[in-house]
C-alpha cells in the first residue's frame, strides 16, 4: 500500500484498560478502550441509555451526569478520567431531590419530548443538593444554562425547579422545627 492509504486497518488495535469506578452507588469494573468517552461507556457499554447523546461535542447538555456530585458533560469526559470516582446517572437520581423534582416536572408539564430532561434533571439535582434552600428563577436559569431544550422555551422547567426547591425547603423547615 502507498502512503495515501491511511486506513485504520494499518493502525494498532486501541489499548484497553480496566476501569474501576463507583456508578449509581455500586462498584463497577469494565474493560474500556482508552479513547472512549464516559458517554460511550454508559450508553453503549453498560446499556444505561437514560443519558442521551444530542450532539456529542459538549454543546447540548443532554448527556449531563454527576461526577462526584458535580454536573459534567459525559460526551466530553474521557472514561479514564472517572477512575476511582463517583458517577451518577439519571437511572439513580438522589431519592429526596428526585422525588421533588420529578413530581414538580410532572405537575408543571416541564417535559415535552423528554429527550433533554434526564440531563436537565441532573443539573437541577446538583443545584438543589448544592444550595439546599429555595432557589430563585435566575439561579435556576444559571444552573440550567448548559442544557438546551428545544420544546418548552424553558418556562415550565424553571418554574418546576423553583417549585421543587421550595417544597424541599419547606420540608427542611418543618423538620428543623420538629427536631
Amino acid at each position: 500500500m502507498n502512503d495515501t492509504d491511511k486506513t485504520r486497518a494499518d493502525e494498532p488495535a486501541p489499548a484497553v484498560s480496566l476501569l474501576r469506578f463507583r456508578l449509581n452507588g455500586a462498584d463497577v469494573s469494565v474493560a474500556v478502550e482508552d479513547h472512549r468517552t464516559l458517554l460511550e461507556v454508559l450508553r453503549y457499554g453498560l446499556d444505561l441509555t437514560g443519558t442521551k447523546q444530542g450532539c456529542d461535542e459538549g454543546e447540548c447538555g443532554a448527556c449531563t451526569v454527576l461526577l462526584d456530585d458535580k454536573p459534567v458533560l459525559s460526551c466530553c469526559t474521557l472514561a479514564a478520567q472517572v477512575e476511582g470516582r463517583d458517577v451518577r446517572t439519571v437511572e439513580a437520581l438522589a431519592e429526596r431531590e428526585a422525588a421533588a423534582l420529578l413530581d414538580a416536572f410532572d405537575r408543571h408539564d416541564a417535559a415535552q419530548c423528554g429527550f433533554c430532561t434526564p440531563g436537565v434533571l441532573m443539573s437541577a439535582e446538583a443545584l438543589l443538593m448544592d444550595t439546599r434552600r429555595a432557589v430563585t428563577m435566575p439561579e435556576a436559569a444559571q444552573a440550567l444554562s448548559g442544557n438546551l431544550c428545544r420544546c418548552t422555551g424553558y418556562t415550565k422547567i424553571l418554574h418546576a425547579v423553583v417549585d421543587a426547591s421550595e417544597r424541599l425547603a419547606e420540608e427542611d423547615a418543618e423538620h428543623g422545627a420538629a427536631s
Partner: protein
C-alpha cells in the same frame, strides 16, 4: 336531570409516559439495540454540485469489520414526500446536489469501523458549477436536480383575487417594502436515527425517529420495491421534531436495504453535523409587498411577490410555495389580493416544513407592513388590526371558509396583559412594545396523496380490569398527542387518564394516521377518538340502563363509576359496568374515523391548498430593550394569546404556546441556517455552538394566554395550538424594536451589526436634515 360538567376536558393532566421519558426509562430509537446489530454510516459529498463518474468500494470492503457497502444504484427508484415531486434518490446516482448529499453507505460491525471505512470508498467526481443564490439558479441554463421538470424553477404559483391594481391605484396610502427571511432549522435535540431488521420470512421492521410513520411505510415499499404488507414501521418515543422528521430520509432506506442484504439488524445515527445538513428547515424567502389602505386604515389591496430558496430537493416545497400566499388571507379582510411565489432549486441542503410551514416568513412581512401603515396613519397598531379583522363564519378573499375566530379576543388579551395602553407611550428610547397577529390551519382538508379514505382513525378496546386501550397511528413527538387522546376518551368513558393505555404509531398495531404535521392531530385524530369513544360509551350506558331499568341517557360515566343522574346515590363501579357491557355486546371494541370537510374552499386550481376544517388565531405583544451603541436586542417579555378553540388539556396548550414563542424569538435575534458560497457550499456552522439556539439565559419571559372560540368542526371545539403561536412572535419583536429605537431591519435576523448600522444611518439622516 342535568348533564354533568366536563370532568376531564379543559383540565390539567399529567402527561402520559412523561415519567418514563424523564427518568431515562423510555427507549428512543438510538436506545434500542438488537443482537448481532451492525452500524451504518453514509459517505457524503464534499462538493455542492458534482457529477459522479465512478464509485469504488473495493478498499472499504477489505477493511476491518465491514460487511456491506451500498450506492445509489442499489435503490434507483426516486421518491419524495409529495407524490407529484419525486426528485430524490436515497443515495446520489448521477450527481451530488449539495455538500452533504449521500453517495454511499457502509455497514460494519461497529460504528467506528463504519466511520473508518468511509475513507476506503473512492468516488471520482467531476465538479460542476454550483448555484447558491435562487435568482442565479433561475437564470442558469444548467439544471441542478436531474428530476426537475422546469429547469431550476421548482414551483411557481400565481393567484389573484379581486382587482388589486385598481385597489392600489385608488388607495389613500400604499406601503411598499422588501423583506428577507433567512433560513432557520428545527434543532430537535434528538438526532435522526433508524434501525431495521428483517425476519427470516422477509418481514422488514424499521424503527425510526420519524413524525410520519405512514408516509415512511409507503415510501419504503416504493423504493425497496416490496409490498407494504411486508413492512412494519414503528415510531419509538421521538426527541423533538418540529417538522424536521416529517418525510423519509436517506438513513431509513439505507438501514432497511443493508438489513435485507446482510440479514442482520442495522442501525444508523446521524451526527449533529449530519442533522444540520439534512435540514428540511424553514425556506429563506425574499418578499416584496405592497399594501393599499383607505384613509381610515382599511385594507383595500395586497400584492405579494415571493422567491423561495428551496435547496437541492422539493421536499414539501410544492405545498410551501402555495402556503406562502394562501395562508395569509386571515385574520384580516384584505379587500383584494394577488400573490406570485416561485421556488428555486439551489445547491444547498433542501428546505421543507418547520413549525408554521410556509406562512411564518410572509407573516413577518405582512405584520411589519401593517405596523408601517399604522405609523403612517397615526393609528394605534392594535386599533389598525382591529379595524381590519374578519369575523367568525366568514369567507377569506381566497375563498377559504373560516369557522370560529377568536382573534379580537386575542388582541384584547395581549393589550391588557402587556399594559399596552398605559405603558407604550411612557417607555423611553431603547425600550419598546410591538404587536402582531396571525392565523394557522388545524390540518389540511386534503391528504398528501389523493384518496377517499378517512384522514384519521382510532380503535379503542375496553377490558375486564376497567381499562381502555387506544390504538392510534398518531405520532406523539413530545407535543402530548397521546395524552390528548386519553383525555378525550376518558371524558366519554368515565376513566381517568392513568387508566388508559395509548399504543401509537406502529403500522402493524395501529390504524393509519397521516402523521404529526400541519397541526392536524388534535382536530383530526381527536375527532376520530371521540367517535370511537362515544360508540363504546353507548354500549356501556345501554348495559347499565338495562340493569337499572332506566333510560341510557340518564347514565353518566364519571371517575370510574356509572352514575344515575336522576338518582346520584345509585352508582356502580365501572369495572362491573364493563363486565355487564361485555356480557351484552361481546368483546368491547370500537373504531372511529374522521374525514375532513371538502366544501370549505374555492373551486379554482390550488384552491384546496390551505383549506382546513378550522383556523386558529394568535396575537402577540413583545417587549424589547435595545442597546443603541452595540445594537444588541434583549427580548424582555412576550405575551401570546392563542385561540385554540378549546384547550383539551391546558398545560399542554400552554407548553405549545411557550415553546412557539421561544422558537420564534430565536429566529429574530439569534439563529441563522445557511451555507457559505465562498467556501463551496459548506454549512455556516453545523453545530449547536455556531447555530445559536437560546439557552435559559437567552430566553424571554413568556406569558401564555389561552383564548377559546370553540369551532363546530373540532373535538369539543378544539383547534390547533402547536404552530400558530410561533408566527406573530417574529413581527411582534421586529415591531417592538422599531418602537424602541425608531429604525427597522427588514431582513432577518436582526443582528447587532445590522441594527447599529440602521441606527447610525438614521442619525446621519437626522443630522443632515
Amino acid at each position: 336531570m342535568t348533564e354533568p360538567e366536563k370532568w376531564q376536558i379543559g383540565g390539567h393532566h399529567r402527561k402520559l409516559g412523561a415519567m418514563e421519558r424523564m427518568r431515562g426509562i423510555a427507549r428512543y430509537t438510538d436506545d434500542l439495540s438488537l443482537p448481532r446489530m451492525l452500524h451504518a454510516k453514509i459517505l457524503r459529498s464534499p462538493h455542492a454540485h458534482a457529477r459522479i463518474l465512478a464509485i469504488d468500494p473495493t478498499k472499504a470492503m477489505q477493511m476491518p469489520g465491514v460487511i456491506a457497502v451500498i450506492t445509489g444504484s442499489d435503490m434507483p427508484t426516486p421518491y419524495g414526500v409529495i407524490p407529484w415531486t419525486p426528485d430524490e434518490n436515497v443515495l446520489a446516482i448521477e450527481k451530488a446536489l449539495y455538500v452533504g448529499d449521500g453517495v454511499a453507505c457502509v455497514a460494519a460491525e461497529t460504528e467506528d469501523q463504519a466511520v473508518a471505512a468511509l475513507a476506503g470508498i473512492e468516488v471520482e467526481y467531476e465538479v460542476l458549477q454550483a448555484y447558491f443564490d435562487p435568482e442565479e439558479a433561475l437564470a442558469a441554463e444548467e439544471t441542478i436536480n436531474p428530476y426537475a421538470r422546469k429547469g431550476n424553477l421548482s414551483k411557481e404559483v400565481e393567484l389573484a383575487f379581486g382587482d388589486v391594481d385598481k385597489g392600489l391605484e385608488d388607495a389613500a396610502l400604499v406601503i411598499e417594502g422588501d423583506y428577507e427571511f433567512h433560513g432557520t432549522t428545527h434543532g430537535a435535540i434528538e438526532p435522526h436515527c433508524a434501525l431495521a431488521k428483517v425476519d427470516p420470512d422477509g418481514l422488514l421492521t424499521v424503527w425510526s425517529a420519524t413524525q410520519v410513520p405512514h408516509y415512511l411505510h409507503r415510501e419504503l415499499a416504493k423504493v425497496l420495491e416490496i409490498p407494504a404488507r411486508q413492512i412494519r414501521v414503528i415510531q419509538p418515543p421521538v426527541g423533538g421534531a418540529f417538522g424536521g422528521k416529517s418525510e423519509p430520509f436517506d438513513l431509513e432506506f439505507c438501514v432497511a436495504k443493508l438489513s435485507q442484504i446482510t440479514g442482520r439488524p442495522v442501525k444508523l445515527l446521524y451526527t449533529r453535523e449530519e442533522v444540520f445538513y439534512a435540514h428540511r428547515g424553514r425556506h429563506p424567502m425574499k418578499m416584496h409587498y405592497r399594501h393599499g389602505f383607505d384613509a381610515k386604515g382599511k385594507l383595500v389591496a395586497v400584492d405579494a411577490k415571493t422567491l423561495l430558496d428551496g435547496g437541492a430537493y422539493s421536499s414539501f416545497g410544492l405545498v410551501t410555495t402555495y402556503y406562502s400566499g394562501q395562508l395569509l388571507c386571515a385574520p384580516y379582510e384584505l379587500g383584494s389580493y394577488r400573490f406570485h411565489s416561485r421556488r428555486a432549486y439551489t445547491n444547498k441542503p433542501a428546505c421543507g416544513p418547520k413549525r408554521g410551514h410556509g406562512s411564518v416568513q410572509p407573516r413577518f412581512a405582512m405584520e411589519v407592513q401593517l405596523d408601517k401603515a399604522a405609523i403612517a396613519l397615526d393609528l394605534d397598531p392594535i386599533e389598525l388590526r382591529r379595524q381590519n379583522a374578519m369575523g367568525s363564519d366568514s369567507l377569506t378573499v381566497n375563498e377559504l371558509r373560516v369557522g370560529s375566530n377568536g382573534f379580537l379576543d386575542c388582541l384584547a388579551a395581549v393589550e391588557l396583559a402587556s399594559g399596552w395602553k398605559e405603558r407604550r407611550a411612557k417607555l423611553g428610547f431603547g425600550h419598546g412594545l410591538g404587536v402582531a397577529g396571525s392565523t394557522y390551519i388545524s390540518g389540511t382538508n386534503y391528504a398528501i396523496y389523493p384518496n377517499e379514505m378517512p384522514q384519521a382513525a382510532v380503535q379503542i378496546t375496553l377490558d375486564r380490569s376497567g381499562r381502555a386501550r387506544i390504538f392510534s397511528g398518531a405520532s406523539d413527538i413530545g407535543q402530548g398527542s397521546d395524552t390528548m387522546l386519553a383525555v378525550i376518551a376518558g371524558e366519554e368513558l368515565g376513566l381517568p387518564t392513568e387508566d388508559i393505555r395509548v399504543l401509537s404509531a406502529d403500522t402493524d398495531l395501529c390504524p393509519v394516521d397521516l402523521g404529526a404535521y400541519s397541526s392536524r392531530i388534535t382536530l383530526m385524530v381527536g375527532n376520530a377518538c371521540l367517535d370511537a369513544a362515544r360508540k363504546l360509551r353507548k354500549k356501556v350506558t345501554a348495559s347499565v340502563a338495562k340493569r337499572w331499568e332506566c333510560s341510557a341517557k340518564q347514565v353518566s360515566l364519571v371517575a370510574r363509576q356509572a352514575i344515575d343522574m336522576n338518582d346520584p346515590a345509585r352508582r356502580v363501579d365501572l369495572v362491573e359496568a364493563f363486565h355487564w357491557a361485555e356480557a351484552d355486546h361481546g368483546l368491547l371494541g370500537e373504531v372511529g374515523s374522521y374525514d375532513t370537510p371538502k366544501d370549505r374552499h374555492g373551486s379554482y386550481r390550488g384552491g384546496a391548498i390551505g383549506a382546513s376544517p378550522a383556523y386558529s388565531f394568535t396575537a402577540h405583544v413583545a417587549e424589547v430593550k435595545v442597546d443603541d451603541e452595540t445594537g444588541e436586542v434583549e427580548v424582555v417579555k412576550i405575551w401570546c394569546a392563542h385561540d385554540c378553540g378549546k384547550a383539551i388539556s391546558r398545560g399542554l396548550v400552554e407548553g405549545q404556546i411557550e415553546g412557539s414563542c421561544y422558537m420564534g424569538a430565536a429566529e429574530v435575534v439569534l439563529e441563522s441556517h445557511g451555507v457559505n458560497a465562498e467556501m463551496g457550499g459548506l454549512h455556516h456552522g453545523p453545530s449547536f455552538l455556531d447555530y445559536r439556539m437560546p439557552t435559559t439565559l437567552d430566553t424571554a419571559e413568556i406569558e401564555a394566554l389561552i383564548v377559546e372560540a370553540p369551532d363546530a368542526r373540532g373535538p369539543h371545539g378544539a383547534k390547533e395550538a402547536g404552530e400558530g403561536p410561533l408566527h406573530s412572535t417574529i413581527p411582534a419583536i421586529v415591531n417592538a424594536i422599531y418602537d424602541a429605537v425608531g429604525v427597522r431591519v427588514d431582513d432577518l435576523p436582526v443582528t447587532p451589526a445590522k441594527l447599529v448600522r440602521a441606527i447610525e444611518a438614521q442619525r446621519a439622516l437626522m443630522g443632515d436634515a
